[in-house]
Symmetry: C3
């Protein structure tokens, strides 16, 4: 089971920024490529007033702020340089869809999708879309939200693939702003099955790939959930990946790189269930040899050993 | 808008120590100077039993502990070496002034001020005083506390300037010992105006410079507060700086270096309001190329780019 | 007062893993040795399903998971290489002894002790045992638990020494999963005396060394507790060490390396009370020049200066 893609966590909800410039990002794409990663996913292109690219629409419509650099352009250029696929994460209002007003979220994103495609659609690394509105349960209007967002992405881009990465409402689904590391009980496997069966049934024309996050469930229950996710994706004709998180959810410091043994175990479990490949949240903080968290570079070395690549030549 | 000064966070309430010796401090002053910083402010010279210098008075009176090195002497020597101004932060009892017994806090600090001036007053970098008793609201007796402290500083030192750096009771004014990153609501701008109008009116003979901390207010409200602070300082004849914090208040890890985009935005807003200059809390953990937090070195590089200084020559 | 031993925090409850391979561990033992450390203590060999060595018994009996490497073997080999003593920490079920079922905890560990001794008992660095079930108070059945564990360790190993490292129920004995850094009040010295007098009386045939953790008590009360612990150990004929923690318990980030001044002060207090030597929790995260926390390397340098060893030659 190999990690073939990584999120790019701009704009982050909870991971402190590394303040990299183009030089550091260029080097990071090189590190990714050497570890076999050939896909990057911008987790969100905008959040509330913060932007990753100078969207005229969002500055006008949402009062968003001009960013200091155009990260979308830079990531597309670096993806091209390193022969990687770039997936563009949609704008997250941080409110409308959470309040059930999915139509407003859709309306804004229709403009974002069109503006983005006009600005960057001819760049060769632009290979897909990511729906940034992550959920774990069948919350109100999630089906029409995903349907209309994914359908519009495909319509403007001649059918480029659409990815979602939901989480599981497991015992580690707790706010990053509590110190608590787990809650009493997580969702029952059967409830998870029922809700996601309905969601995948409802969105299968609009979404191509589902990659559940693997960090919210206790290790002893993970295999059951991976297997369930795989069977649901198969049933509805979606590709099934695992988003194998590379940070630790069970430590008081939120969040540092995961212990290799845990990642190794999660990858093995995913392999057993026949899942196609892994992506991760995310390489640059938690696996990169140049991460501010030095544990990450050691995780990179352990992962390369697992791939039978010598890290002594590489970094 | 340039950052011209930084706090030295000894003794810290909440930032883990870097365990630097003189060699590392010397190098850090050099990094500061190259980034245009020409002023350092010792945030407090003593806190409860902890001391930054071997105060005989505080060891005797407060049972304070002999420190392993004389940081005040070292910082004064390094300030002189790098042609920087040193501001001495007063002793914080951690109790008297918080319990409303400002006279006791004043009494102890009168001795501290005199002892300090006798010990270090002839060192050429000694250029000012910092009142360590930080507040955000018109708490009981804050006016006579600041008045009597500032007046005595000036009296013994032939009028050296006195600095305060209050905070704003905004939504991010939450304890660093909760994981919560914000509270429901912050102080209304008008209440802030009324309280600080009265405070500045009451202390204007004893305090020369006010530099409000800029991190407790939501970004969308910051300009209003900066503008208000500037107009209040102007009204009462104080110099107005901004204490542009270089750490992030909205992340679960408390606290790591700020995202450059946020600092950049805060500096731009301060510039718009006509504030004279910025200082920061603080360089050595959050902006220094040798910080234990490697994000800090990248922030340094981004800041030098903003100043149009090439960091490739510098570090 | 010198630090002569360190824990090896595998498997950790609360310190994120550094993801080191054999190369990094080899280098770390070298760093330890140069700082005068000649003893390492594996804090626990297994916890619930996680293992440090491929125990057939625990995989079969407890459903534990095969680990990626045999850390016990590696640590024993490195201890031999650097002429250090290795203490083996027992298996912690994470439940039985905490629920008062000490007999079940003992039964499992009897097998673990025997299996361990069969596998590694002839390796020359195997010099002692550590009872991983840490407590601060006279909880139910702690005396028979320690007695039966320690007795069996000694029986199979021809009397190798047994170490415990309890903590004090002081104001800093708070969950690492709250952000709170202290509670209102700690245990009274007299209650501590009564409970530990009874415990040491009850376990003195089975346990050789007691090294109380020194981080849960306020600095102003530490000397009294150190003195009490020393006198209780003397009374019952145990050797008394101090476990001088090298991480900070009073910062919002849980946990980073301690400020040198605090460690320096704690070591001085231990020396005053006649305690024999110090061990620490733990070197590799909090004192090592290659720690992911760069403050640790500076702490190492400060500690070497205290020992009058030049760190410029060493790292």
């Amino acid at each position: 089971m190999k990690i073939k893609g990584t999120f790019l966590d701009e704009i982050s909800h909870d991971i402190p920024h590394q303040n990299w410039g183009r030089e550091e990002w260029d080097r990071d794409f090189d590190f990714m490529k050497k570890a076999g990663i050939d896909m990057v996913i911008l987790i969100r292109s905008g959040y509330k007033q913060w932007l990753t690219y100078p969207s005229r629409f969002l500055q006008k419509k949402m009062g968003s702020w001009e960013p200091p650099v155009d990260l979308v352009k830079m990531f597309l250029e670096l993806s091209e340089k390193y022969d990687m696929a770039f997936y563009f994460g949609l704008y997250d209002s941080g409110k409308y869809w959470l309040q059930g007003d999915y139509e407003k979220e859709v309306e804004i994103n229709h403009y974002v999708i069109e503006e983005t495609w006009r600005s960057y659609g001819d760049m060769p690394a632009f290979k897909g879309w990511y729906l940034s509105q992550e959920c774990s349960r069948r919350i109100k209007n999630i089906i029409p939200l995903y349907n209309r967002l994914g359908t519009h992405c495909k319509a403007v881009s001649d059918g480029l693939p659409v990815l979602i990465s939901p989480y599981i409402d497991g015992p580690r689904n707790v706010s990053q702003y509590t110190t608590q590391a787990r809650k009493e009980s997580g969702i029952a496997l059967d409830i998870h099955r029922k809700e996601w069966d309905a969601i995948l049934q409802g969105i299968k024309e609009a979404v191509d790939i589902v990659a559940f996050q693997d960090g919210h469930v206790d290790m002893e229950d993970l295999e059951d959930f991976l297997r369930m996710n795989k069977s649901l994706a198969d049933k509805h004709g979606l590709r099934c990946w695992t988003n194998s998180e590379t940070f630790d959810r069970d430590m008081p410091i939120k969040f540092l790189p995961i212990k290799w043994e845990k990642l190794w175990r999660k990858l093995q479990l995913a392999e057993k269930t026949g899942i196609e490949q892994a992506i991760t949240f995310e390489f640059s903080h938690f696996m990169s040899p140049q991460s501010a968290y030095l544990q990450a570079g050691h995780l990179y070395n352990r992962y390369l050993e697992y791939l039978n690549i010598s890290h002594r030549e590489n970094n």
